[in-house]
């Protein structure tokens, strides 16, 4: 049997604040935050991310956010595109339904972390997944929470990932 193909898996990291968080966070929050991170997984030449519109996909760097601020190499996977699509469809019906989006608890980075572990067994860098708790641990964050909570982030430019050729 020939060795299975290995597909590279990358993490695209975007700073939603475009640098403002780095400058203003010491004043506002009392601690230094390098950015407000939005991430997506790039595999099989497609970018996948989770937002208020559910799981979406686009060509790499194809959202309105433009090119990523940094790219992290997550590893390689044997998972084929077909299998990955099935997995995403499953996720999109369970844990990452559109309504399940919450900016603190179940956001784009949660999704990316989940997918990265599925694909490679590795997690994404902790400074990204720790961000909500970092913010909420400040008095400012706590105070703003009721206002921040309902915020829905959905980078435009992608199309939803659905169940292909529905047969179940």
């Amino acid at each position: 049997m020939e060795p299975p193909n290995l597909y590279p898996v990358k993490l695209y990291v975007y700073d939603l604040s475009k640098g403002l968080a780095r400058r203003l966070s010491p004043i506002m929050l009392g601690k230094q935050l390098e950015g407000i991170w939005h991430t997506s997984i790039v595999v099989h030449k497609d970018e996948f991310y989770f937002g208020s519109g559910g799981i979406s996909s686009c060509p790499p760097g194809g959202t309105l956010l433009g090119p990523p601020d940094s790219v992290v190499d997550v590893g390689s996977t044997e998972v084929t595109e077909e299998l990955f699509q099935e997995y995403l469809s499953s996720l999109g019906e369970s844990l990452f339904r559109r309504e399940a989006y919450n900016i603190f608890e179940n956001n784009c980075n949660t999704f990316t972390n989940e997918v990265a572990q599925f694909l490679t067994g590795r997690k994404i860098p902790s400074y990204i997944t720790d961000l909500p708790s970092e913010i909420l641990s400040t008095p400012f964050g706590q105070a703003l929470r009721p206002f921040l909570d309902p915020i829905q982030i959905q980078p435009h430019g992608g199309s939803p990932v659905g169940r292909p050729n529905g047969q179940s």
Partner: protein
């Protein structure tokens, strides 16, 4: 705990025994949930899958286990892959099985053999034809459809080659024999059949003989008159006509592929396909007969004697019909066959096929409805399906699905084929210069109707993106135009949002703007908060603020 484990391991090593397999706890994580399994660490992945399938009630074939990005193969051992106590494995349940199964059956073998001697495309296409024939046998209504398919394809030969060269279809060809082998009555014949035809194949590599073979259509037709009976009165008729049509198709493919060896592959493939039902074995003898004229007689007679051993008592009354039909056919084709060129062989085929379909019509047991002289328009929409390989692929999948359906729910068969006949409006004509076409269309439309019914009834997204997304789009046409006019350019996002909010355009706009819905007041500029006094008919509210 780790230390205890280490000590246990050491003691086992010291004692010289194989470390006994410890029971480990492995978590299986699906997109939906996470479950724990206890099993021995040296058990195989296959065993693990069986346990999972027992608990989660899925087929083991559909389970795909992934660990650190690697897909676990059935023969792997858990501990070898690094799966120890407390690790988590990911599980994906496929919704459909893998397309191509390795075919241990007879068909792929000789087909591979063919490939040594001829271009792969034509040999696989010959196998494809056999597969078409077998499909026809398994479902009598499909013969009509395939007959029309054959007719159409004679008009557009490129699509034949395209159709046959589609790797998906070839994959299905390889898959079919795996199923065919399960038929108990054919298992006996299989080992014997390949040999004579394989030998025939070898000896016929001589190009001169190949040319002669190409002009052997006439003999094929004559051979078809020797149709014995069978259990099912319909089947021999269907299959014979089908085989005949495919015979005439094969030279088409051959002429396209510029390789006469396809004829050989086709004949031998038909020989193999005939092992499915005893009634088609005489058609195997049909190619065998012209072969005998050029090859050592012994092999073919061997084939034929095997054939005669298996024929059941005749189907008497059917034979005159077939014979008359085939005599017509042979007469018709004898004249054109006088021309020796390859290209001229295209001409006998359409007329011969036409006659074949006339025969189909004459035989009432075959057709459910007669539709003689049905116009060409009914066929034309099939053309884009046939020239588009993806559409063909989808159609094949539908066929497969329908087969499975009819197998699983036998009572459903009549329901599937019954309704929706002739209710389809004729689509627009396109270049009606295709000549006369005979034959019924109803079964084709029954298939398409069923497809539509399934597409509409299914709660999940359907087979073709066209049919699935056209419906909600149609519902929200007006809303979509509104949104576009307002500047929401992303059509997909618009549609998605509209679907999510059930067509409420106000809510959709709010969603698209990214505003939390609860906080935006309804944009009703004319709402009047009732004031106690001074309500002197001031209709305009203050909706302008507070947005």
């Amino acid at each position: 705990m780790a230390r205890a484990r280490e000590e246990a391991r050491d003691s086992q090593l010291v004692s010289g025994r194989e470390p006994t397999s410890r029971i480990i706890r492995v978590s299986v994580k699906t997109p939906q949930d996470c479950q724990e399994f206890m099993l021995a660490e040296n058990s195989s992945v296959h065993h693990f899958k069986k346990q999972i399938s027992k608990r989660l009630h899925h087929d083991t074939d559909r389970l795909v286990l992934i660990f650190t990005g690697k897909i676990l193969r059935d023969q792997d051992i858990l501990s070898q892959r690094g799966i120890f106590d407390g690790t988590t494995v990911n599980l994906v349940v496929r919704t459909r099985l893998k397309g191509t199964l390795p075919g241990p059956g007879t068909l792929p073998g000789p087909t591979d053999h063919c490939m040594h001697h001829s271009e792969p495309s034509t040999s696989e296409s010959a196998g494809m034809l056999a597969r078409l024939g077998r499909l026809a046998q398994s479902s009598p209504e499909l013969t009509d459809f395939l007959g029309q398919l054959a007719q159409l394809l004679t008009a557009a030969p490129e699509s034949v080659v395209q159709f046959l060269e589609n790797p998906v279809i070839q994959g299905l060809v390889n898959e079919k024999p795996a199923k065919a082998r399960q038929a108990p009555e054919s298992s006996r014949q299989n080992p014997q059949k390949p040999e004579p035809t394989l030998k025939a194949l070898e000896t016929l590599q001589n190009p001169a003989r190949q040319q002669e073979l190409l002009q052997a259509n006439k003999q094929d037709l004559e051979a078809l008159t020797a149709v014995p009976g069978g259990d099912n009165a319909m089947r021999p008729v269907c299959s014979d006509i089908q085989q005949f049509m495919l015979f005439t198709l094969a030279p088409l493919v051959a002429s396209k592929g510029q390789n006469p060896a396809s004829e050989l592959c086709k004949e031998e493939a038909n020989a193999h396909s005939s092992t499915d039902t005893t009634t088609t074995i005489p058609t195997a003898s049909a190619p065998a007969r012209p072969l005998t004229q050029k090859v050592r007689a012994g092999q073919a007679t061997q084939a034929r004697s095997m054939a005669s051993n298996q024929t059941h008592s005749g189907c008497g009354p059917r034979m005159p019909d077939i014979n008359s039909g085939h005599n017509l056919l042979s007469q018709e084709s004898q004249q054109p066959i006088g021309k020796a060129t390859l290209t001229s062989q295209l001409r006998p085929s359409p007329s011969a096929l036409r006659k074949a379909l006339h025969v189909l019509q004459q035989n009432p047991a075959l057709l459910h409805q007669l539709a003689s002289g049905s116009p060409l328009q009914h066929y034309l929409p099939l053309l884009p399906i046939l020239t588009n390989p993806r559409a063909l692929q989808a159609l094949i999948q539908i066929e497969k699905g329908l087969q499975i359906l009819s197998k699983e729910v036998p009572g459903l068969g009549p329901c599937l084929w019954g309704p929706g006949r002739g209710t389809r409006e004729p689509p627009e004509t396109r270049g009606g210069g295709q000549g006369q076409r005979a034959g019924s269309v109803q079964s084709t439309w029954a298939v398409l109707q069923l497809l539509h019914a399934l597409a509409n009834a299914s709660s999940q997204s359907t087979q073709s993106s066209l049919s699935s997304f056209s419906l909600p789009e149609g519902c929200f046409q007006q809303e979509l135009e509104h949104l576009k006019a307002m500047g929401f350019a992303n059509h997909d996002a618009n549609l998605q949002t509209l679907m999510a909010v059930g067509g409420d355009i106000q809510v959709a706009i709010e969603r698209l703007l990214g505003l939390p819905e609860a906080q935006v007041p309804p944009t009703d500029a004319y709402s009047v908060p009732p004031h106690g006094e001074g309500g002197k008919g001031r209709e305009r509210g203050r909706g302008g603020e507070g947005k």
